[in-house]
Assembly symmetry: C2
Homo-oligomer: 212 residues x 2
DNA sequence: GCGACTCTACTTACCGGTCAGTAAGGTGTC
DNA sequence: GACACCTTACTGACCGGTAAGTAGAGTCGC
């Protein structure tokens, strides 16, 4: 009766999940189909069955990120700007704990060696992330909960860039993320958080997708 | 009388120079000895003669950066913190113009795939860069020329992280660097610069080394 | 002032391993 | 029997790295 009927699309999802881990920890150029096939106990050609070229896999990963990020944003529509900021910080922490960097970081670092399709999809993803960062500080400024010099566009760009940078630099100095987060709160005129915003289930970023 | 006596050590320097360009534009994993040998018109084995393993080449590149950065700092010992900040910004611009990202960015992004020797050398380099950033804002705060919330350590870390991030994100959106620079000046309480701090010769970063 | 030797800086010609990608065949399910 | 989902078996390109040979310039004894 076959305990594992391997619900259709299961392997494809496993490939994406493992490829995502590899992408964020090693980069696109530094993982191979062999890494994936060895990790999943299937053959090289099985990966090619689902993703004919590595480019297809890369694009699928980025598109999945974009959908996930859209849901991440939508899921916290009701929160205050300050709360949304903390969610953003929590997301960054969860990358760090897995020894990963954020997708935008690896995509921009490797950009010139990536296939054009991935460059294009990456551009859209990065624009969406920056827009969200700008939106948070713009609303925070508008409702008076955040005060800072300069423009919302500048502050959002700074926030996005500094968190991406901090996540990378944390590989050398693990204090980098906490240090940058603390400084950003100060510059936004926010009370310093306990820095353990431990709502015990921060599942927002790890949800799996049923989608192909 | 041999027009080209190829002053001893010349090839070695050419290898380092081309490898540096490749490292900052493509990353360490995405360039090969073939790229270098083809670019210089020599054979693969000639590169191995000077740098037996790719790891040796990578470490040599980082060590050269560290020496260059030390001279970069020393050369502007007399300047005010604000002037030093602008030099830092100019350095970032010059990377962007060459379609490169900063060494610390590529090293941290690829860190987990780099040989241990490079990880170690990279760690020292990154620590030196961050220390310099902290030093600038600490002295700026001390002499009253910069005012900002939070600590000098936090502000320096933020500055370093955000410039590294901005340089990467500029590959998708070229306005990122100017935007982040402008915001940093605002947050430091500095008057907005003309943003073309064009002292026509900003050679500080491009100086060649005679050293091996 | 010249042959013998040494050293640097390469060259040619390889090596085994890994890469992404392909062709053809098998197997279980509807 | 059509189809989804694999497998086995392979290809050519490229990877970092190595062994052996060589051209030329400098150095030495004599």
């Amino acid at each position: 009766m076959k305990a594992e009927h391997d619900a259709r699309g299961d392997t494809r999802r496993k490939i994406l999940d493992l490829a995502e881990t590899l992408l964020l920890s090693r980069g696109f150029n530094a993982f191979s189909y062999q890494h994936i096939s060895a990790g999943l106990g299937v053959r090289n050609a099985a990966i090619h069955y689902h993703f004919a070229r590595k480019t297809d896999l890369g694009v699928a990963l980025i598109e999945r990120y974009r959908r996930r990020f859209a849901r991440f944003i939508a899921a916290q529509a009701g929160l205050t700007p300050a709360e949304q900021l903390e969610r953003y910080f929590t997301l960054t922490d969860s990358y760090f704990q897995r020894q990963q960097i954020c997708p935008s970081g690896i995509l921009s670092a490797e950009l010139q060696t990536l296939p054009p399709e991935m460059q294009q999809a990456g551009g859209l993803f990065v624009a969406e992330m920056r827009a969200w960062a700008v939106d948070i500080v713009a609303r925070g400024q508008a409702d008076g909960s955040m005060q800072y010099a300069g423009s919302a566009a500048g502050m959002g760009a700074l926030m996005f860039a500094s968190m991406q940078g901090a996540l990378q630099l944390a590989r050398f100095d693990e204090a980098a993320i906490a240090s940058v987060k603390r400084q950003l709160r100060q510059l936004l005129g926010l009370a310093a958080e306990a820095d353990n915003t431990n709502n015990s289930n921060n599942t927002a970023t790890t949800h799996e997708e049923s989608q192909q």
